[in-house]
């Protein structure tokens, strides 16, 4: 752009970016309220459209084929992205968000890499202040971007519980040794050192490649020791990082809309991460640097006789209040529709049914809400932990579907990996029914006393099958 241009034509792109920024801000704001959230998403998408159109409109394609190239890039990405978004199952949503997140981070990192390689190859090295700004931004964007990519990919695998390589299933580890933190520290220091070296020797691309390699390793080391129960926190933090990477990219190309959208997402992601940590009564630092559960899982020695669906159906007959507490097991077995059917029958018999949602139930905040919404459970029936706990005492039957740690009374004891985590007081209900595959420990690796209480009935088996049988038993009564 001409430096001394004051006409409206020159300012038009900047005005377009301003409009996009405003749309992003309003969109993000609206996304935080249930009623306005769909509008918020639309605003965000519109902002993106404005930004893309403005960017393309500024380009002078002349005789080149660049227009076709750019359109084909957009078409390929758009097609893949749309297909993935439409085909993903609701259970796979956390993995999908983690993956998209990684792509976003990678895109920022690649833009940075592209700029540094172009400048080195064309010997178009900046000088003075511009050198410092450009190279620092490129380095930081590469650091954050690559960490986001490899971290997100690993987080995605950890959410699945493992990875398949040549037909063999490898479980991802859920813990790491303490000394790993020192290695992470060393790697980070090396990257900062390399960043300084790139500025000192701005024409040497080896340093840049080293930053990329070390950042990729750092992302893996960072996520590797974190337990599966903490994955939501990590995905949220990586979401924040991908925003920061975009903001640094904004410094590279000198564009405000990237800086605004990126840093806003970075800050918002941090808030969300904090909300999740609070829900688990854990400090972010502990989550990131102290290994949790996994390594020394308690061996389950006690036994408990399982109940059958008919028995449970009889107990549920004629009750006046039932609270359903879903967990990740419900997501895995996809039994939200059966759960709702069960609730419908109870309600038809005059029973009050509510759902107690633990903030970290599932593998992502709000995971349960999305699943239950898919089964058309009204929003008002989903009650958050603090509110449902006050009603637990008057509850006749609490049905725990595929949850374990979030109802484990061991959390109140103040000892062990679960210490201090707020739980749903399922044990205060008169009867507790637990739909679960076995007595095995949850992610935190702690045995659950609730299983062995006299008032607890265990329904051993797959959630979907058990809930289906429970529904038909109820109908037969």
């Amino acid at each position: 752009m001409d430096e001394n241009c004051n006409s409206l034509d020159c300012a038009l792109p900047e005005i377009g970016y301003l409009v996009a920024s405003i749309l992003f801000i309003m969109g993000l704001k609206k996304l935080g309220h249930p009623r306005t959230a769909p509008t918020g998403n639309l605003y965000g998408a519109m902002g993106m459209l404005v930004a893309v159109v403005v960017t393309i409109a500024q380009m002078d394609f002349g005789e080149t084929n660049n227009f076709i190239l750019i359109i084909s890039g957009l078409a390929i990405g758009g097609f893949i992205g749309y297909l993935m978004a439409v085909r993903v199952q609701m259970t796979g949503m956390p993995e999908m968000v983690a993956l998209f997140n990684g792509f976003g981070g990678a895109a920022s990192a690649l833009v940075a890499a592209s700029e540094v390689f172009r400048r080195i190859n064309e010997n178009d090295l900046p000088e003075g202040l511009e050198l410092y700004v450009a190279w620092t931004a490129i380095g930081l964007s590469a650091l954050v971007g690559w960490v986001t990519l490899t971290g997100s990919l690993l987080a995605m695998m950890k959410l699945k519980g493992g990875v398949e390589i040549f037909g063999t299933w490898y479980r991802t580890p859920t813990w790491g040794p303490e000394w790993l933190n020192y290695i992470k520290g060393l790697v980070l220091i090396s990257i900062v050192g390399l960043l300084y070296m790139t500025i000192e020797e701005s024409g040497n691309q080896d340093y840049v490649i080293a930053i990329i390699a070390l950042s990729s390793i750092l992302g893996i080391l960072f996520v590797l020791p974190i337990g599966g129960a903490d994955m939501p926190v990590v995905v949220s933090l990586l979401n924040s990082l991908s925003g920061i990477a975009a903001a640094f990219t904004g410094f590279i190309i000198g564009n405000n809309v990237l800086i605004i959208a990126g840093s806003m997402v970075g800050a918002a992601g941090l808030i969300l991460t904090n909300i999740m940590c609070k829900a688990m009564n854990r400090q972010l630092i502990d989550v990131l640097f102290k290994s949790f559960g996994g390594s020394d899982k308690e061996q389950v020695t006690r036994t408990k006789v399982g109940s059958d669906p008919e028995e449970v159906a009889m107990v549920c007959d004629g009750i006046s209040k039932c609270i359903i507490i879903p967990g990740y097991g419900m997501a895995v077995s996809q039994c939200q529709h059966q759960v709702r059917e069960f609730a419908d029958i109870l309600e038809a018999n005059g029973c009050e049914v509510k759902y107690g949602i633990h903030p970290v139930a599932g593998r992502m905040p709000g995971h349960m809400n999305v699943l239950l919404a898919e089964a058309s459970v009204p929003y008002e029936k989903l009650i958050e932990m603090d509110d449902i706990n006050s009603e637990m005492g008057e509850c006749d039957v609490a049905i725990v579907v595929g949850a374990n740690d979030t109802v484990n009374p061991a959390a109140r004891s103040g000892e062990g990996p679960l210490a201090g985590m707020p739980i749903i007081d399922a044990d205060k209900a008169r009867v507790v029914v637990m739909v679960k595959r076995s007595l095995s420990v949850g992610y935190a690796g702690v045995d659950n006393d609730l299983f062995y209480e006299d008032k607890t009935m265990m329904l051993f088996g797959d959630g979907k099958q058990m809930m289906t049988e429970l529904v038909s038993s109820l109908k037969d009564l």
Binding site: N65, L69, G77, F100, V133
Partner: protein, 102 residues
């Protein structure tokens, strides 16, 4: 780049961070996943950078490493943007009680 431009950019950066902190303070748990997903789609704004470099680096019709990196970035950013908004929309439709997807 002039120092004044840099300070301007840093000002925008810091103010936007504060804005982000203020924008979402109280969010019901239902919206945590869609919010994360929507925010993630917005962070795909890096698509602008990918577009600009895809265009400039391919100029002359003799693309080097830089051009292909930018083009790959463009594809990834577009997946992030389109996929992110589409998936958020799907989740929000479900929460609103409409039937969306399978």
């Amino acid at each position: 780049m002039e120092l004044i431009t840099l300070i301007g950019a840093i000002t925008v950066f810091i103010l936007a961070i504060f804005l982000g902190f203020e924008l979402i303070t109280k969010v019901p748990a239902t919206l945590h996943t869609p919010l994360m997903s929507g925010a993630n789609a917005i962070s795909g704004i890096t698509i602008v950078g990918a577009l600009i470099f895809s265009e400039t680096d391919f100029n002359g019709g003799n693309p080097g490493v830089a051009a292909w990196l930018a083009f790959f970035a463009l594809i990834l950013a577009t997946i992030n943007v389109i996929g992110g908004f589409a998936v958020t929309n799907r989740m929000l439709n479900m929460i609103a009680g409409k039937r969306g997807g399978k």
